[in-house]
Symmetry: D2
Subunit: 328 residues, 4 copies
Amino acid sequence: MIRIGLVGAGRIAQVHARTVEAHPTAELTFIADPMEAAVKPLAEKYGVRYSLNPDDVFTDSEVDAVIICSPTPLHVEHILKAAKAGKPALCEKPVAMETAKVEELMESLKGLDYTTMIGFNRRFDPTFARMHKMVEDGVVGKVEQVTIISRDPAAPPKEYIAVSGGIFKDMTIHDFDTARFFLGDIVSVYAVGQNLDPELADTGDFDGAVITLTNSEGAIATITNSRHCSSGYDQRLEVFGDKATINGDNLRSTQVRVSNGEHTDAKDVYLDFFLERYEEAYAHELNEFFAAISENRKPATSIEDGAKALRIAEAAEESARTGKIVYL
Amino acid sequence: MIRIGLVGAGRIAQVHARTVEAHPTAELTFIADPMEAAVKPLAEKYGVRYSLNPDDVFTDSEVDAVIICSPTPLHVEHILKAAKAGKPALCEKPVAMETAKVEELMESLKGLDYTTMIGFNRRFDPTFARMHKMVEDGVVGKVEQVTIISRDPAAPPKEYIAVSGGIFKDMTIHDFDTARFFLGDIVSVYAVGQNLDPELADTGDFDGAVITLTNSEGAIATITNSRHCSSGYDQRLEVFGDKATINGDNLRSTQVRVSNGEHTDAKDVYLDFFLERYEEAYAHELNEFFAAISENRKPATSIEDGAKALRIAEAAEESARTGKIVYL
Amino acid sequence: MIRIGLVGAGRIAQVHARTVEAHPTAELTFIADPMEAAVKPLAEKYGVRYSLNPDDVFTDSEVDAVIICSPTPLHVEHILKAAKAGKPALCEKPVAMETAKVEELMESLKGLDYTTMIGFNRRFDPTFARMHKMVEDGVVGKVEQVTIISRDPAAPPKEYIAVSGGIFKDMTIHDFDTARFFLGDIVSVYAVGQNLDPELADTGDFDGAVITLTNSEGAIATITNSRHCSSGYDQRLEVFGDKATINGDNLRSTQVRVSNGEHTDAKDVYLDFFLERYEEAYAHELNEFFAAISENRKPATSIEDGAKALRIAEAAEESARTGKIVYL
Amino acid sequence: MIRIGLVGAGRIAQVHARTVEAHPTAELTFIADPMEAAVKPLAEKYGVRYSLNPDDVFTDSEVDAVIICSPTPLHVEHILKAAKAGKPALCEKPVAMETAKVEELMESLKGLDYTTMIGFNRRFDPTFARMHKMVEDGVVGKVEQVTIISRDPAAPPKEYIAVSGGIFKDMTIHDFDTARFFLGDIVSVYAVGQNLDPELADTGDFDGAVITLTNSEGAIATITNSRHCSSGYDQRLEVFGDKATINGDNLRSTQVRVSNGEHTDAKDVYLDFFLERYEEAYAHELNEFFAAISENRKPATSIEDGAKALRIAEAAEESARTGKIVYL
């Protein structure tokens, strides 16, 4: 059993705690979060020890590996502490708010034999993972065009947007990773931002965007984002190749269709948000983390992946602000 | 060019007239119907001769073949006249109201070299025809179970029901032919009739029914009928075999899907009724008729097919009235 | 916390054990099964006590409620023991192999204040439950026709069929309950059995069937069964009413569609069998059992429901053997 | 009856000829094309007069209106002749190869009371027209993002590409008009071209492209084009608004779905190309042309529409060649 220490006791930490507890080869042993009101009940729920000092996780002798769910500004510090402590770490995305910070981190990590996985959960979603496998298996042929539609059901509170780093870093970052998942490294970025929601006007952030990415072989990915979507969390992916086109559709809570005098075969609205839509993905992500530890290998998503997605996010922001294409 | 004489000037005659006129190898030359108000404008529309005496069609020297759209009670007489005149005939279903009449007809036809096709248009519907081809091509394997859902958008006027011969002869007759199209000859019939619509109660006819048919090899067809359906003309077919299951879906006027806060991927209601739903089928039916004439061969659907569908309809009526299985 | 004792350690017991362990208001405390090779590892996995004598579950003071997963011939005895011990019981279907046995059981239970739930899991499937809710909410209007397609991916071993009670009791029993879920009590049964699979010929059982059921208001349900289906576990339901038609579709492991030169929008095959297809249903079934206990009320499915489904199964067998309709 | 003269006897002229002949308020009277081998059989098929001199159409006293299907370089000249002759004209897209030519044309037309419609057939496709109506009816709310997927089944011959004006003028021109149909005037254009097909490398043209368009209100349209698609002519449209998302799907020749051990619900490949896919659209386009003539009003698509789509095509070419955004 891999003994897990959790840094953070917020919403995503709670998801991971539950998944760890249900996992056959891992168990939760320790949780640390400065907010006692959050960490105490979570620790009690699973009958594990807790601390108000996150650093304790990295030094605890009964913690084999850590899952870092601290606020983004602390990610770099926590990744480094885990690496120095010789404890494999899974860190939520994004690695940092700026590429420069990630580069500093990578510099600091040089020479250390560390295992760090970045939580790009969508790579582990059964639908997207299956599509990636189909590409690897040659079903699609040469990938030429990737179309990503990614819309949130509703905008987050303005307070969140104020500190989130903006739409490209808090929302599109996942889509940038998905684009890289299918196209590899990106060489050019063109983004158009939208300010359509008057409620969000004074955040200074975009509430919609379309981004065009190219790789060095001339394949193109388009990402269409919105902070809102009337029918729920809209998460679709199309991969077009010379042999086939494959599509990943939205998930619904049931398989009911309704036909009446107004319409036919009407389905449920989409699963509402990421905890529901990517529930299985989070579990498979942990599977990969635990498997990488057991097999003593690098996990599927690295700090480099985090750095590259972040670099695209910065380029998208620059492109949307200047109206120019940014080359990486 | 095959010169066509039309017996009847009603709704289905108008459909055939238009299709004939648009056909590259046939042309309309003559229409006969005792109702001048119907036949005159139709004849003028296409610039052809007309008569108020249906018999004239069978003797006209410029008529190569006839399409019989007269009322059902006249079908037998008109088929016989066409056969004696040596003119190939396409006759709308049903051949007659009673099997006994069809048997008399077949007796009278003995020794004559006639070409008569019965208008079981659904066999020529692109979707159903393709499914049949798949069965012939072995895609489905051995056919084991056929499921037919067939519902009209709304009940016909009571006056129609009073003379139609009842649901099994006016509506299910098509489904019986579809069952035979996929299963061949039927050996047992069990029908349950429904009287759910109080408006139709005093017609003495059923307004819904479920019929179970078997063939001599143990394959089963179920037919589910209703005189009404909230979302339009509901015409679906499933053929289940040991290698595959194939489904034929309803048609819609557009390919639009709507997603909003209530539902997702909601499609149009179905094409409303048979003239719309089977528009292509009617055209392909005429193609087959004209092709059979040109190639001097028997058409795909014969008087025998009409007789057998009618025999099943009678058995269904008997079964629904007595609560007993009827063996053919 | 409701402390659960499990009778049986087989496949379905393992499903329930896992669900109980993950449940917030229940916990597993005891497992009994005469097969040490089965019960010991299961008990060890969850760190609970075990016994080779099933009767121990009913007398154990730390067991609040029992889940009966013993072989069908023992169900009646175990239900009675739980009732006498004052422990609420969830018993897998069918209650018994013959209606007579269930009637004896109900006689014996008279005067006892017992809580027994029968495991008709499909009522708790999110798709079917939602459809039932729609009917209750008036979305469908008056229910007129119910169409159930229910096909297993592959036939069970002959050894299983030899003791299963036959297709109607081991497989269709669920569909009979689904029909009752939507139509209430059934008054007539007509069944046609099929013997299409030569491999199963010497079992004397049917390997396919179509059953027509009616209720006292003239609504009809048809059930189409097969022991095999090329594309997996085929579980579909259509409820047709005067206001709407609602359909419940099959489940798949991903939402991928593939389009190429052969076909378009091709989806995954169906989830293979009942443990996968009804995984959520099993969990919701336990929710209902625990909720009924907590709220001190009768659970949603009763011994009477079990008895009635069994009675229909016997009627179907009789109908298929004699070729006659059976009235209940 | 509106008497129609046809300029050109090629593939699209044949489509129009057939539609005119079947139309209740129009009839074909004259065809002109310098290629006798093309014009003679077409004229004979419909029993109309013909000439080898296109100019004869504009002077013929029995021609009320003309349909211009001549090669693109002749469009401007023919539109002008029709306008001067006082004959309403429907001209195939594009109006010309360069915006400058169209501007000259519009200059020449000043002061004339002419009726010219440009054949942007997709606006008349039942699916796209219905989507546009939904937008007008407020179903979608404010339109924010339009996603157009438009892929040909296979690349045209190199000889065609050499004179076609390139992908943006021969193929995307339709998509630019669709974008304008939903977003109105476009203010910025960013295009990325692809050269993925080695067979087409020496044409100097792109064989795939992604174009991002914005309007003055900040709405965005993306167009994804390819010269090839394994599953046929891929023509999809999504319109996302704050109240609903609506999608227009591909058309197929039947409604068959196939489920077997490999996949489920696999549908037919798409209708292969524009004559099949937009067959109904061509008919509705003529309806609009004839209706505009009868009602003495401007048709739905004007030379200005043609000019604006062409201007976007030129901007896209410039953007794809320079890697810069082009503002209109």
